[in-house]
Structure formats: C-alpha cells, structure tokens
Amino acid sequence: MNVPQVYASSAPLWAVLASLFAVPAILACTRVPNLREACTLIAAVAKLAIVLTLVPDALNGRAAAIELLEISPGISLALKADALGVFFALIASALWIVTSVYSIGYMRGNGEKKQTRFYASFALSLASTIGIAFSANLLTFLLFYELLTLATYPLVVHKESPAAVRAGRMYLAYALTAGLVFLAGTGWVYMATGTLDFKAGGMLASSGLDANSLRVLFCLFMVGVGVKSGIMPLHSWLPAAMVAPTPVSALLHAVAVVKSGVFGILRVVGFIFGPELMALARLDLILAIFCGSTILLASLIALRQDNLKRRLAYSTVGHLSYIGLGAALLTTTGFMGSTLHLAAHALMKITLFFCAGAIYVHTHKTEISQLDGLGRAMPWTFGAFGIGALGLAGLPPLNGFVSKFYLCLGALDAGQTTILAIYLISGLLNASYFFPIVVRAFLIRDLKNEKYGEASVWVVAPLCLTAALAVAFGIFPDLIAPIFTLAEIIAAEIMQLAPS
C-alpha cells in the first residue's frame, strides 16, 4: 500500500489565496494599469513559489493538508496537496505567469476594453483551479468547480458581442447542468459511504453498491466532469467559447478549465471508484467508448475548420479524451501517460493558442486560408507553432511523444489493440490538420502578407518560452520540474503499488 503521509500545513490554502487576494487588489488598481498588471504578476509568481514548496513533499510521499471550516456536518472545506494535486497546480500556476505576460501584450496590443474585469476574473479562475487541484473531498471539489464556472463566465462574454453572449449562455447551460449532475452524484456517494474524502485506489470499495448503481453513479460523475473536459457529446460549448480573448482560450480553454475537467476524470477514476471497481463493473468500457470516439470525431471535425482557433478547439477536445482514454486503461503506464499528457498537452496547446493570438493581434487574421506566407514574416511565431504541432502529433523529441509513448504502452499493457490503433490514427489525423497550416505559412508565398513583421515581444517571448519548454520536457522530462517522477508516483498511488 502506498498511502501518502499527511501533515498539517496551510501552504495549500495560501496557494489558493495568492490569486484570490489579487482580485480586490486588481479591482482597486483599475485606474493604474501598470500597477494592476503588477498585481497579477506578483500573485502569479507567489502562487508558483508556494506550489513549488509543496513539490518536494509530494515527491517523498507526504501531503500537506489543511481543514478549514465545516460546510456540512462531518464534511469540511478541506485542502490536501497530494501528488496529483501538486502536479496539476504546478502546471496551472506556472503557465499562469507566462499567460499573464502574454495577456499584457495581447490586451494592450488589441486595445481591449474592461481589462480590469478581465484580470480580476482571471485571478479568480486561477484561485478556483488551484482549489480544484487541492480539494481533499468531493464537496470542496464541487464548490471550486462551480466557482470556476462563474469566474470564467465574464471572460467568455468579454467582448460583449451577441456571439459572445450566446457563447456565454451556452457555456453556463452546459457547465451548470454538469455541476448539478455532479452534485447529485456527490449526494449519492455521501449517503452510500458516509464520507466524501478522496482516497487513492477508490473510496467506494466498501460502499456495497451493486454494479448497476455503480454504473449510474459513474455516468453521473462523467456528465459532471465530462462537460469541462469536452467529452462528446458534451463538448459544443468549447468551440463556441473561442470567441473569448485569446489568453483566455490559451490558459482556460486549453489548460485550467478543461484540465480541471480531465483532472476530475482522474479523481473520479482513481480516487472515487478506483481501478478494481472500474474493472469489476466494466466502467472502463463506458469511459473508453466515449473518449475513443471523441478522439476520432474531434480530429475529423478539426480537419474541416478554417477558423484557426476553432481548429485548435477541436484539437483540444480530441486531446482531452487522450487523457480520459488513458485512465480507462486502468494500467500503471496508462495512468502515467494520462498525467504526462495532461502536462504535455497544456504546454503545446498554450503555445499554439499564443501563436493564434499573436497572429490575430498583429495582423487581425483569424482564418487558416489567410495565413499564406505569414511564416516568413513571423518566423518565431510560426516556428513555435510548428513545434507545438509536431508535439501534438506525437513526434520525438517533443514532450507529446513521451506522453503518447506511455499511453500506447498502457494500451499494450492492457492488451487493448483497438485503443492503440485509436492513438496511432489520431496522431496521423493531428498531423494532417496541423501541418497544412505550417506548410501554408512557410511554403506558399503571398507578398501582401510578407510585409508584416514579427509581433510585439510581449506576445512572442511567452510563446517561444513554452515551445522551448515543450522541447526541453521532451528530452529531459525531469530536468526543470520533476514532472515524470510525479507522474510515476501518481500512477503508483492509484494502482496501489509499493513505491519503487
């Protein structure tokens, strides 16, 4: 058994509060934009620093935990920084810094209105995300999950155009329904087990629920987390939400919000049901069918999109299901692949969105068919785009290769050749919807487009950084941050193996 040793510490709470405190500060500095953005950056750096202090303990199998007030008899608002939580928090908070820098360039370059509301909502979203990462029980998770929905709503409707308002309605309709279905599942778990605490290897083992009840319960949870993780047919809000400013699409709709959904899948599979129960009630099959078909369908739909951000959105839908499908394999390597892909996709997709934003803010082009020859004008941007695209297609030496390698290993370990085939076909589809963009930008000449120079350094530097990181993590997965070791620990925890 590999149960993390829990010790009391308020660090997880401070990680949440770092950006929560930034909200009033940002609102107060609304008249001094430079100070306001400084608040964001300080909060982002502080948040990452706090999360980093939790990493060594997570590596040593120790988890910082704190119980705040009781919110229902016997259930506290409780935070616990276990390995999976630290892993997710690390990615989200590190990328928040990069995105903040990028936002400054993008929002100012674009002359966007209501920037105070933008930065305040952004900080609140990050606080909710870290809250989700560190939630120690289902009710706390649900609380932050709903808070995230509310915090991101102003970001989706940011443009206040009719399209944005429609997208906002759609987002709320999907996300609130999901939250309520999740709530029903949570209530059921509580009545069945008397506890809501996440437990590595599953908390429902002793609940005495029969297989059919488990299936219904699993479906409730899957609808609950499936909306945010874009599992088809619950994905439609995501392409619609692309109307939001690009930094939002980059961090929230490629990392924080959608990854909260995927993180939820890992929690549900690994910490509520557990691999044994999943296999016993054939829940893995339900998950695999939905995720597998999502991967293929989303990739096919992505092929047909001319709008760059929409193509990226469908690609996101597909890659999120990589993670869910990896979890459905119920093998150590599958869980490792899932967690690694959570990080890998975050880095690569944020790069791609940054590129799309840089193109838009500099040239106001949104469609792929308009990008002819732009690669010569914006070599750094399109270079980074190429790296992200190669990574998502799963080519070495990028981090997308490492995660996909483990996902395929997981499929082999589980003896699931169909799933292996899905991963491989999807790789080809990824290549076929990403490479034409790069080819068009570099190889087709269009003199009108070549007069543009590179975009402002505020937007180009972050995207180059994330692209470089994608390469670095592909070659040395553990060098900069112990992503790989953490993934190993998480998988071992879920599979209840002794630490190696």
């Binding site: 919110i71 229902s72 008899p73 609380l143 808070l147 906002g168 609130l176 309520l180 029903a184 059921w188």
Partner: protein, 495 residues
C-alpha cells in the same frame, strides 16, 4: 421580573408599537419609520436572548394572563418557535430600515397607517409562531391576514383587485382551518396543542380527527401558497407597494410553513404523519410539483416582481418537499431553506424596490447595462442573491438544496433528486436572463455610453441590500453552525 414574561414580550412590543404609531406620527414624518424599526430591533434582541435561554435551559411555557392550560392560552418558546420569531424580527429590521424612502414615495402621507399595519402583522405572526393553542392560532392568523390585506391593498388600483382575490382565498383558507379546529375540538375536547398531543397518544387518531387535520393542512396550505393553492400569490406580490411585498414575501408564507411543521411533527405523532397517514407524502408531491410549476411560470414572466413571485411558489415547494421527506436531512433542509429563502427573497424584493426608487421600470426587458454603473451595489447584490436562488456554492441556497438532496436520496426518492436538479437549471434560466441584462449590452448598437447618474446614493437603500447579500455568503459557509446549534435541537421526537 420581566424575565418571567419573555415569551409574551414579542407580541406585546409589536402590538404596542402598532398602537403608538398613530399617536406619535404627528411629531414628524420620520417618526413612524423610526418606531417601527426600533420595535423590530427590540424584539430581535429579546428573541436572541430567548433563543439562547431556550437552547441552554429548555422550553419555556407561559400561561397567558395566569390562566393555566388547557383552559387558558399557552405560549410556548421552544427551539423551533424562538428560531422563527427571531427570523421574522430580523427580516423585519432589515426590510423596515430599507422602507423609509420607498414607503414615503409610494404611499405619500400614509406612512403612519402603513407602519402601524406592518407592526400589527408582525405581532400576529409572532403570535402564530408562539402560541400553543389551536384556536388562538386562528385568531392570530386572522389578525395577520387583516393587516396583510391592508398592506397589500394599499397601492395602485390593481393592488386592490388582487388583494380582494387574496382576501377571498385567505378567508376560505382560514375557514378550512377553523373547520378543522372545530372537528378536533369535537373529537377530543381540547384546543391546547400539548394536551391534544397527549390525548391522541392515548386514544389514537380516529377518522374524525384525521378529517380535522386534513382541513387544517388544506387551510394552511392555502395561506402558504402551496401548489396548486398558490393562485392568489403572484398578482398580490406583483401589484403591492414594494416595501409590503419585501416584508410579506419572505415572511408570510414561512409562517404558514411553520404551522405545517408544528402540526405535522409536534401536535401529531411524527411517526403517524410520516408512515401511517399520507400527509407527508402528499406534501412532498405537491412541493415537487410546485417547484417545477413555479420555476416554469417564472421563466415566462416579463415583470421582475411577478417573476420573483412565481419563484416564491417554487421556493415554498422546496420547503414543502423538505417537510414532506420526513427525515432528518429533509427537516434540516426545510428549516434552513426557510431561513435562506427569507434572506434571499427579502434581498431580491429590496432590489426591485431600489429599481422603483430610481424610477426604473420593473419590466425585465427594460433593464439595461447602464445599471452596472448607476446601481453597482444593487446589481451586485442581486447577482449574489440570484446565485443563491439557483443554488451555487458557496452561497446559502446551495446548502439548503444539499440537505434536501441528501434527504431525497435517503428516501430513495430519485424523482425528487431530478426535480431539485431540474429546478436549479430553470432558476438559472430566469435569473441569468436578468443578470445578463444588468451587465451586458444588447446588440452591437449600445457602444456609446450615456452619462451615468449614480442611483445607489442613499445608505438606507443600499446598505440593507448589501447586508443581506453578504449574509447569504456567511450563512452558506457557516451553515453548519446554524444546523448544529439551532436546527438539531428542534428536531421532532423520533427523527
């Protein structure tokens, strides 16, 4: 000395205030308002003391005028009744504080009768909650109703018509109640609740008494606007003076809900009303139907106050559902929801009052995003209260729904789970429609912004609304304190 009379003080103060207002109103236009707020505040303090005393020392029974029960009238201060009196005094303080300008504007020259009737009604509400005598309850019910007709009818001509309808319905309800009391007196020879309970424990509940209780529950259901007896409510709430609505909407129906709890779980043996007679099952089903019906009708409304009124029908459904579940979580959910809904509805109706005070229309279509600049605090408070009505954490509304959900699951009543989930979504539809109007411009045209006239400028208009909105978050995060300290001591026997 006076400590021996704690139980009766709430009623005495309210009635005394009601009588003194016409006398002192000549001293100045502000006096009736001040007296009303002061009276409510005093009653609030008294009842805070009472509740503390009752929780630590046990139930207080007070024989009115020294006449011993079962002959004389008895007032009972137990955890349940002290909680409800405290709640209604608390809401009264906040709403009456807010009412200063709206009441003066909407009832020019008639504020003295308004406040006098208000205190009369509050006194009668306290009487309903405190009394331990079925017939005395009827008397207070009628006093409250008469004062209520005056409050609701005093406004536009439409209000008079709507109130006349309410008067007919209310009278029918009261008659049902009285008929039931008569039958019970016929069967047992007593009107005292404790005595009645003791007699029924020995003799059992014969058919005559069952019929009596059915009459009582029907009558109370009408007063509570329990689906399908809610028809009087939307018109009355929508056309009345905003301060009257803001006071009666959170409190009036809650008092009726209190009577139901008292009769079903304290006068009757809880096991009887839960398992042997179909009282609670029927209540649960009607509650669930009311939740869905009220929510759907609320979506169809164009007028803010009518929308809130139909939403009240739905929220009363939650309380009925909780009572009808007949288990601990259901009971906790129902009582907690009376508290939460009282705060939410008061907040929302005060917001509608603020709109009216700012010369805004109540039509939802005419709300626009200039309000986010001109009434920032009002808009924000509306948003928080709306989130609580939808039931999103960490606001209070989430937690009462959470307990109701747990209660439904405990009974394996999956259809109720579905109802709770579905109604939250319906709530989201009609509340986000308003929030969208408040914060987002419509269409592309609305780019140039008109000069902003800040309408959130009077403390007495803004502070109560903001206070209630903050309270909703505090009540949400601190709900365990309320559940542990206040609601668990009032659980009926056998739960």
């Amino acid at each position: 000395m006076i400590l021996g009379h704690l139980a009766v003080l709430s009623i005495v103060f309210f009635f005394f205030g009601a009588l003194i207002i016409p006398l002192v109103s000549r001293l100045g236009g502000w006096v009736p308002h001040a007296v009303a707020v002061a009276t409510s505040a005093i009653v609030f303090v008294i009842n805070a003391t009472n509740l503390g005393y009752v929780l630590s020392q046990g139930t207080i029974r007070y024989a009115l005028g020294g006449w011993q029960p079962p002959i004389g009238i008895e007032l009972v201060l137990d955890p349940l009744s002290s909680f409800f009196v405290l709640l209604l005094a608390g809401i009264a303080v906040v709403v009456l504080w807010h009412s200063r300008y709206p009441a003066a504007a909407e009832l020019p020259g008639r504020t003295a009768p308004f406040y006098s009737a208000t205190l009369l009604m509050l006194g009668a509400f306290s009487g309903i909650v405190l009394t331990g005598d079925l017939f005395n309850l009827y008397v207070f019910l009628e006093i409250a109703a008469l004062a209520g007709y005056a409050l609701l009818g005093g406004g536009s001509a439409r209000a008079a018509v709507a109130t006349f309808r309410y008067l007919i319905f209310g009278t029918v309800g009261a008659s049902f109640y009285l008929l039931g009391v008569g039958l019970i007196y016929l069967g047992t020879g007593t009107l005292n609740m404790a005595d009645l309970s003791a007699i029924m424990a020995v003799t059992g509940v014969e058919p005559l008494l069952v019929i009596g209780f059915v009459f009582i529950i029907t009558g109370v259901g009408l007063k509570m606007a329990l689906f399908p007896l809610h028809l009087w409510l939307p018109d009355v709430y929508a056309s009345a003076v905003s301060s009257s609505t803001a006071l009666i909407a959170p409190l009036g129906t809650k008092v009726a809900a209190y009577i139901l709890i008292r009769i079903l779980y304290f006068v009757l043996n809880p096991d009887l009303s839960r398992f042997q007679l179909p009282f609670t099952q029927v209540l649960g089903i009607l509650g669930a139907a009311g939740i869905i019906w009220g929510s759907i009708m609320a979506i169809a409304q164009k007028d803010m106050k009518r929308m809130l009124a139909y939403s009240s029908v739905a929220q009363i459904g939650y309380i009925a559902l909780g009572i009808g579940l007949g288990n601990t979580y259901g009971f906790i959910g129902a009582v907690l929801h009376t508290l939460n809904h009282a705060c939410m509805k008061a907040c929302l109706f005060l917001v509608s009052g603020n709109l009216m005070a700012a010369g805004r229309s109540q039509s939802i279509d005419e709300l626009d995003h200039s309000l986010r600049k001109s009434m920032p605090w009002t808009s924000l408070s509306f948003t928080i209260a709306a989130l609580s009505m939808i039931g999103l954490p960490p606001t209070a509304g989430f937690f009462s729904k959470w307990y109701l959900l747990l209660g439904s699951i405990e009974n394996s009543a999956w259809i109720y789970v579905l109802v709770i989930v579905a109604s939250s979504l319906l709530n989201a539809v009609y509340f986000f429609r308003v929030i969208e109007r408040l914060y987002l411009p419509r269409g592309e045209a609305a780019t140039e912004e008109a000069p902003v006239v800040v309408a959130d400028n009077r403390l007495s208009l803004v502070a109560p609304v903001v206070f209630l909105a903050v309270l909703l978050v505090v009540l949400g995060l601190g709900n365990v304190v309320v559940v542990r300290q206040l609601i668990q001591p009032m659980l009926p026997a056998g739960f």
